[in-house]
């Protein structure tokens, strides 16, 4: 433009410079502009902890939803042969022969009543098992002792540390020549310590002998058929080995598979943990947005009511509401708990959203839009809500661990979901009772709760950093 103008004014002059091209690329935007959400996503991706947490959350979702399809074990199936088993590899069992009555060994050439009464009756030697020790029966025999009028048999789960520590008294044989015993009492595949104490016919002696026995797992044909390990028509010979149901995370106090129960429990915990925050955040948005947008007397009345709800004792009302909404027989009580949680938790979000709306309402672009004739609904949907979304999303992520905690807490004190429905909290409650002997029953559900809450907390932190405008400017 300028060159042509000069050329017109002074046509006789030839310019000694070449005109600059107007197609300079200076004003071109070199990168695509990012929306708020794209920018937040990029920031979130830079946060390793938040991304790991995101993967954990996705894994948990898969664990809950797809897990039961892969691991098709009934969580309520009781395996009484494997009670409180620690995590282990698959176990095999022998198919036991049908039980035959066993005749105790009674020596004919040894006196039943002692002939002499020594001061100290020595401990019998040669204590051994007869045949294979299985969980069906353990058969013991020992050599007779001179001066014994009978023998007491004890069983313990640890090596006895003295006469007072022999464990469970099983039986006392009547006669110094009766030198065997068959134990069929609740045998499990674990170490047993059998002690034999000779008696003088009335009182026990001071000497004993101890034998360590680890029985092999054996199940009868009827039991194997009932548990679906072999078919009824199977002609598997006795003594053949079977593979038992595999429990990678062990079993609980009723022999139920922990992995299946964790998956089932995840469904309860995550359902409450995700649905409740969604619902109460939604109610909070509506309530807080309404109060904040219209302001004035309506606002203060609404917020005063919210303050009262906050002041209610949370635990008491959770329990009361839960009972009031009713649990019929056979119901798990998840829905009443969800309703109670939503009814009590919305004021937090409402307050937050109201504060945000009050702040945004006074911004210049709102006034500008209103001047241009925008309606209330347009203002709210187009300008106010999208701008509060960041804060809402952050509070949603932080509400999830809170809800999971509440569910776990209630189930732990026995006021949560009704048994037999498992939840992580009620599994902890059951596990805490046997914590000293079978720690895995507490550790697994507790770890799942902790990891889930941890993941949501870290994700929330990451989202705060990615979405918070104050943090962005730094």
């Amino acid at each position: 433009m300028a060159t042509t103008l000069t050329a017109e004014l002074t046509p006789e002059l030839t310019p000694d410079f070449t005109a600059a091209s107007h197609n300079l690329s200076v004003e071109q935007i070199s990168r695509p502009s990012l929306s708020y959400w794209e920018d937040a996503w990029i920031r979130l991706k830079k946060n390793t902890r938040a991304i790991i947490s995101l993967y954990i959350v996705i894994f948990l979702a898969l664990f809950t939803l797809a897990g039961p399809l892969v691991w098709q074990v009934d969580p309520s199936l009781q395996d009484l042969n494997q009670i409180s088993q620690a995590p282990s590899w698959p176990k095999t069992a022998l198919l036991a022969a049908p039980y035959e009555r066993w005749q105790p060994i009674i020596l004919d050439d040894f006196p039943s009543e002692p002939d002499t009464f020594p001061d100290v009756i020595p401990a019998p030697d040669g204590l051994q098992t007869i045949g294979l020790a299985t969980t069906q029966q353990i058969r013991l025999r020992w050599n007779p002792v001179v001066g014994a009028g009978g023998y007491s048999i004890y069983r313990n789960n640890h090596l006895p540390e003295g006469l007072n520590d022999l464990g469970l008294p099983l039986a006392t044989t009547m006669g110094g020549n009766e030198i065997s015993y068959e134990d069929r009492l609740n045998l499990e595949a674990r170490k047993y310590y059998y002690s034999v104490v000779p008696t003088d016919g009335i009182d026990e002696g001071d000497k004993y002998v101890t034998l360590e026995v680890i029985p092999t797992i054996a199940i009868t044909r009827a039991e194997a058929t009932a548990r679906g390990l072999i078919s009824a028509a199977s002609d598997l010979p006795e003594g053949a080995s079977l593979t038992l149901h595999f429990h990678p995370f062990g079993t609980d106090y009723l022999g139920r598979d922990m992995l299946a129960r964790l998956m089932e429990g995840a469904r309860v915990s995550l359902f409450i943990g995700i649905c409740a925050p969604f619902l109460f955040v939604l109610i909070g948005i509506l309530y807080g947005g309404f109060a904040g947008y219209f302001g004035g007397q309506l606002d203060s009345t609404l917020m005063r009511f919210a303050d009262f709800v906050v002041a209610l004792p949370f635990l008491l009302f959770m329990i009361l509401f839960k009972i009031a909404f009713g649990i019929g027989p056979g119901e798990s009580g998840i829905i009443p708990m969800l309703i109670a949680l939503v009814l009590l938790s919305w004021p937090g979000t409402a307050r937050l959203v109201r504060g945000q709306v009050l702040q945004i309402r006074n911004n210049g672009y709102i006034d500008a839009a209103r001047l241009l004739g925008a309606k209330n609904s347009y203002l709210v949907l187009r300008h106010i809500l999208p701008n509060t979304m960041g804060v809402i999303l952050v509070s949603l992520t932080f509400a999830v661990p809170g809800a999971i905690f509440t569910e776990a807490f209630l189930s732990f004190i026995g006021m949560g979901v009704a048994p037999p429905t498992p939840s992580w909290g009620s599994m902890c409650n059951e596990g805490v009772k046997t914590m000293l002997s079978h720690p895995h029953e507490l550790i697994f559900p507790a770890t799942f709760i902790s990891v889930t809450v941890l993941a949501f907390n870290l994700l929330g932190d990451g989202l705060t950093e990615a979405l918070d405008s104050r943090m962005r400017s730094r």
Binding site: P401, V432, L442
Partner: protein
Amino acid sequence: MLAYTMKRLMAGVITVWFIATATFVAMHMVPGDPLMNDKAVTAEIRKNLEIKYGLDKPVGEQYLIFMGNMLQGDFGISFTQQNRRVNDIIRDHFPVSATLGVLALFFATIGGVVWGALTAVYRNRLPDIIIMFMVILGISVPSFVFAALGQLLLVNINSALGFSLVPVAGWGTISHMLMPSLVLGLSTMALLTRLMRSSMLEVINEDYIKTAKAKGLSPLRIFFKHQLRNAILPVITILGPQIAAITTGGFVVELVFAIPGLGRYFVQAVQQLDYTVIMGTTVFFGAFLVLMVILVDILYGFIDPRVRLQ
């Protein structure tokens, strides 16, 4: 100042009244009544019991009677614990819960301030990373898991030593109180550490810190007198609500450690729908918490002269 206190107290009274009314209504909405806990009684006995406890009157009248008695400081007689007055239950067991709570709060505050200050000093260095990891753990692990683990730890220590150094459960001596209060304070401690850290980092950028540095004050003096004192303020504000959290968490710790606190009676009362005990403990706890929050707010005005109480 006085006007502010009066105003807050009035609001507090209304809040407590609201809590009492809401609890009363919710409690009576629940199907069943406390007399159903006993074995089946004949209709006549039941009628006599109803008359004794005033359950034969309409609910509205019961409410008025309850309110009247409450104003005189009388919560009535427990349904499930024969002839035991609710006031006695509170008087016997609240001090236990309060001791536990105060100790827990003490641990939490001291720990939170010290750890928080440390993380701010060692910002983004190893101590900071380690402490902040512990903080995240402290926030993410439920209190009942901590309680169980704490007990497990005590059992192991005691069995390793061969004698009972710290009792595993029960109540009575200082050594009984250590583990439960520590466990109870953990999550609050984690929260306070986090708050203290961000508050310390905020304060360090303030102008008065730069001025103090420019004046040539010793770093220790700046740290204690300027930075720490100013950073502690937000921690105090959150103490009020945290007292509520600690009393709620106290239930579980009392359950696990077999402590005869009020929490256990409360949970038991709710399970058995013991009207009078529920009302008594709820109103008492509610009033206590409201008072605590008001107290913390007033205290805040004294500590931070910039805050005007209106």
